[in-house]
């Protein structure tokens, strides 16, 4: 591997692989949760959609993650999107608890 390519890959290939497995999983669960809370339909239906959607979203997110320029970027995008999606989820949950 050339030094130029190594410079382009902080965390190396493993960074991208772990991000595709775990980072994309976190993102897909966040998507599922968001759907199961906010979809404008009866609770059982949006629950089923949220649960079912996790698998295909994980697959698509994992493939996109592998396309990232490097592992750091792959993790960064996944975590940033997950945090972004969790904000309305947590606001909703805390509202329900009160």
């Amino acid at each position: 591997m050339s030094s130029k390519t190594q410079k382009q890959q902080p965390l190396g290939g493993w960074g991208k692989i772990t991000a595709a497995i775990f980072g994309a999983l976190l993102f897909s669960i966040a998507c599922g949760l968001l759907l199961s809370i906010f979809l404008p339909m009866p609770v059982n239906n949006r629950l089923a959609i949220g649960g079912i959607a996790v698998a295909p979203i994980w697959v698509v997110a994992a493939i996109y993650t592998l396309m990232a320029r490097n592992g750091l970027r792959a993790w960064g995008i996944n975590l940033a999107l997950t945090v972004l999606l969790f904000i309305p989820i947590l606001i909703n949950l805390s509202g329900q608890a009160q």
Partner: protein, 521 residues
Amino acid sequence: MQQRTLKILYNAHSWMGVVTGLILFVVCFTGTVALFHYELATWENPGYRINETEAKEKALPVQQIIDRATQEHGFVYDEFFITLPGRFGVPVTFYHFNEETHELTKMAVDPTTGEKLQSANSNIVEFQTHMHTDLNLPEPWGRYLVGLFGIILLFSIVTGVLSHRKYFKEFFKFRPNRSWRLLLTDTHKVMGAWGILFHTMIAFTGAVIGLVGLFLLVMAYAAYGGDREAAIEGFVGPHIEESGVAAPMYNVDQLVTKAEQHWQGFRVEFVSYHGFGDENARVTLGGSMEEQLASVQQLTFDGVSGAMTFESDFMDMGAGARIYGASFALHYALYGGFMLKLLYMVLGASVALMTVTGMMIWLEKRHSEDKRYRKLSSATCGICMGLVVATATLFVSNQLISRSIADKPFYEELIYFISWLLCIFWAFYRGNNYQATKELLLVSGALLLAAPILNAINTGDHILASLQKGYYTVAGTDILLITFAITCWLVAKRLPHSRPESEHKSKAKVSIIQEPVSATS
């Protein structure tokens, strides 16, 4: 698509296949066997064999069968589950699961007489199904793992399709008479192209069935604001505590009529009692809708008054619930008859073959590079072919081990794993994987042929006798086993004895050495 993107997709497809291919093969292969769960249950238990036409026409009312089971056969439990004749097999089967000891008590009853049927004390069908759904691991972890492999298969399918630029050309690109590696590549691509809809469906529904317990738990926690009880009640109805006061149960046949009138085309296939004999008892009737993809429809009634208390209608809950409700019917081929199962078997076997051919393509490319690849090649041969031998061994051990041996299921499973392990050792010992595959195929063929012969000797139910007696599933199973045996023999005959490329190379070397000799002479 950019060259870099294509390379990443191809590498992701290859490496995912190499890392998970062998376990995927186990899940897919055992799945094709598990498809025939109820047909094989009749084959493995000679006592369960009853005339299938009579069983349909002369079946007793369900209430009469329950009364005989509870009063005469001693099947007395607060909670139990009954499968009615139909897609769950010919007998009426009673199940009780002990929550504390995790033991399952099972009793099969003749639907025409209510008589208890004698079990062969065998477990090969449950074992095969458990291998497919849980990889024989403790629940629920095995189920989650298999669900994860559904997602992995989905990932492999998507990356496989995207990494092929000329996808539609692959449909008809089959060149069997060129090189061995090309034959493997073409087989992999042609099967992938033609079976893509089935493969995607089976991967997606497998992931849903395997992981829905986990994902829905998380989603339900959020959707119901952390109230787990409310989430469960939303799907299965409110939990009822037993009062301890005895009360007569409402006639279940009348409940079946009510249920089938409630939804047009609803066919009751199982009955579940909670608190049987208690004044707070609940009866749940479940089944499928005719001509629709729904197999988990359920209605719950008050066990004493017969009033409907809860309905779980997956057809009316919207798209998500409908997809979930259809997943089981689609995955287990519950929306058709025996012929649909045969089609599923062929397509399911193509998924298993795709994982093996994928592994073989990868290994063939690297065969001459390193000793480690040759070892991985032996492991692939041993694990995949060994599984076929081990499955065939199950059928033979079912016939050979006496039902009087208390631990018969344990010995059946022990023989299964020992034979599998021996096949792996044999593949490593042989070194030549082509020869080892041929030999293991011949062993599989011999065992598969022995199973119906032993069945005929032990029970007298050879194919013609089974057809005469109306044991159609037994005759069908025997025919399938013989067909597989012949297939194994034919494939073994067609396979090369050693790597074809190395044969060509050695021939080429010989001709180079011989040429100067002939020139001088």
